[in-house]
Symmetry: C2
């Protein structure tokens, strides 16, 4: 089953099957978590609706993969990894709200507030965010490592990170001219911080089996560059993507007058930039080996391939 | 400065000065936390506006007082205690939103969304909730105790606790007839769970200096009863209170057709019930001694005295 590294297609198919396996692992655990959740029925439905709407589970997968590559048995931190998906899902629900981005569709389905109303959507987000910390606090790993990971996640997801990024995003929308550095800062906070901390927290938790500060640093470099490339490709796909594949309308950035990488530096240069950034991510993996290392390499390359 | 226990007025004045000192401690630390917060200016203003709007800081005080009574130096857990106030403040901002309770005033001032708009109010709440866990994760206490406390707080504040309580509250508003047990369940989750876990987390953290499971149990009994009494008195004050003292309109429960303790069992019986419940809280303190024990007794009695 080792991929033929000279054949792009085989390698790609191998990766996709592998990715689907990781996604299944997360989905199974998310389903178990939801089964055990005891709360008002309508709230549970609303949480379930958005959590199980078919995301790729990139954040928990990054956390698990980094931990596994560094030697940690991934079943030990499934709760923690799923906590990251809870945070991601809450942020999508709140971002879609009428007072924010006012989106009607998410992954091809009506957004949470369209189905459950605004109050329940806000509360489902609050519930997911709060429960994410319950999940992260509850893993059979030494408490000091869990605490260190929780601290990093809360910083990355909070006012200095993701929430701050959403504030910047809203303020940039009301601005006539936006510079590339403003866009970069916004993306770094809004989507980059959580992707980075997903890798970093995996490495922090892998200290349980001897991971070092250098490993944590490498996870940080990988995660930061993945996040940046991901956003550039997202911007590219908003110009050249297929609505049916993306599950959301293309061209919305242009219609909303948003500054994006393509609108600021052009499609070609955006693509080159993304490729350079993925190269930085790949370099952070050079000291590791094994199947999970190959998976993380493939994942980095896959991000670029989406833009083809 | 020891209070004359035979004179209610002296004792009350002594308590109020004492309470003000505890509140000052929390306010000073909250100010320090905000000073260090680096995030977009408008977000910081919005967070600051609600956090420093003059709350009594009951939750952090309960946490500190329980910890101190059990022998823990309270300066060690100031971050943790302030995290509880962050959670309380986020819940007030979100509860006030137009799609929720649609309140224009809070503590005599325009609500957060009235000043900063709905999007920023939602994000300020999200920021406070997320940062609360950063604060709780960061205290010079053994990681296993911090983690245990964080776990309990996240359960109490999440879908099985406070968020679930707000969902019940909204659903009861749309219901013609409400039973006392439904109201009790709603209050237990919406306000009771966080008050209880404030005491419980103080006792959990005091395991650092030898506090026992029995101490944690006592903190739980005290907190649960304080919370219940607090809500009954709140309902009473909505009938007989002074608008200027409360900083919010009285009679709003009746106008909104909400079922309350007075509307369901009458004023007199509500008052008797609150007194009985406070007695339960006081009994949980009987094995302790010292000034902080007296302070916690006074605090319990003070809740009832508000209703006079």
């Amino acid at each position: 089953m080792k991929p033929n590294k000279t054949c792009g297609n085989c390698s790609n198919n191998f990766f996709k099957k592998n990715l689907a396996r990781w996604t299944d692992t997360i989905n199974t655990h998310l389903t178990n978590i939801l089964k055990k959740l005891s709360c008002p029925t309508e709230l549970k439905k609303s949480v379930d609706y958005s959590l199980m709407a078919g995301g790729k589970r990139i954040r928990p997968i990054l956390c698990l993969a980094w931990a596994e590559m560094l030697g940690l048995e991934k079943n030990k931190i499934l709760n923690f990894a799923c906590g990251l998906e809870f945070i991601h899902t809450y942020s999508l629900i709140h971002d879609d709200l009428p007072s924010m981005d006012n989106d009607d569709l998410r992954r091809g389905k009506p957004t949470n507030h369209k189905v459950f109303g605004e109050a329940m959507a806000i509360l489902a987000g609050d519930a997911l965010l709060t429960q994410s910390f319950e999940l992260m606090a509850n893993n059979p790993i030494k408490p000091n490592y869990i605490l260190e990971a929780i601290l990093q996640v809360s910083i990355a997801a909070g006012p200095q990170g993701m929430v701050g990024g959403q504030v910047l995003d809203l303020s940039l929308e009301n601005q006539r001219q936006t510079s590339l550095s403003q866009i970069q800062e916004m993306h770094r906070l809004k989507t980059g911080a959580l992707l980075e901390v997903a890798c970093v927290s995996g490495a922090i938790l892998a200290q349980e089996v001897g991971a070092s500060k250098t490993d944590i640093k490498n996870a940080s470099i990988y995660g930061r560059n993945i996040g940046l490339a991901f956003q550039i490709v997202d911007d590219i796909l908003d110009v050249i993507g297929d609505e049916n594949v993306l599950g959301k309308p293309v061209g919305s950035d242009i219609r909303q007058g948003k500054s994006t990488y393509p609108s600021l530096v052009g499609l070609e240069e955006s693509y080159n930039l993304a490729q350079k950034i993925i190269q930085n991510a790949l370099e952070s993996l050079q000291n590791y080996k094994g199947n999970t290392k190959i998976f993380l390499e493939d994942l980095a390359n896959y991000i670029i391939e989406r833009a083809h």
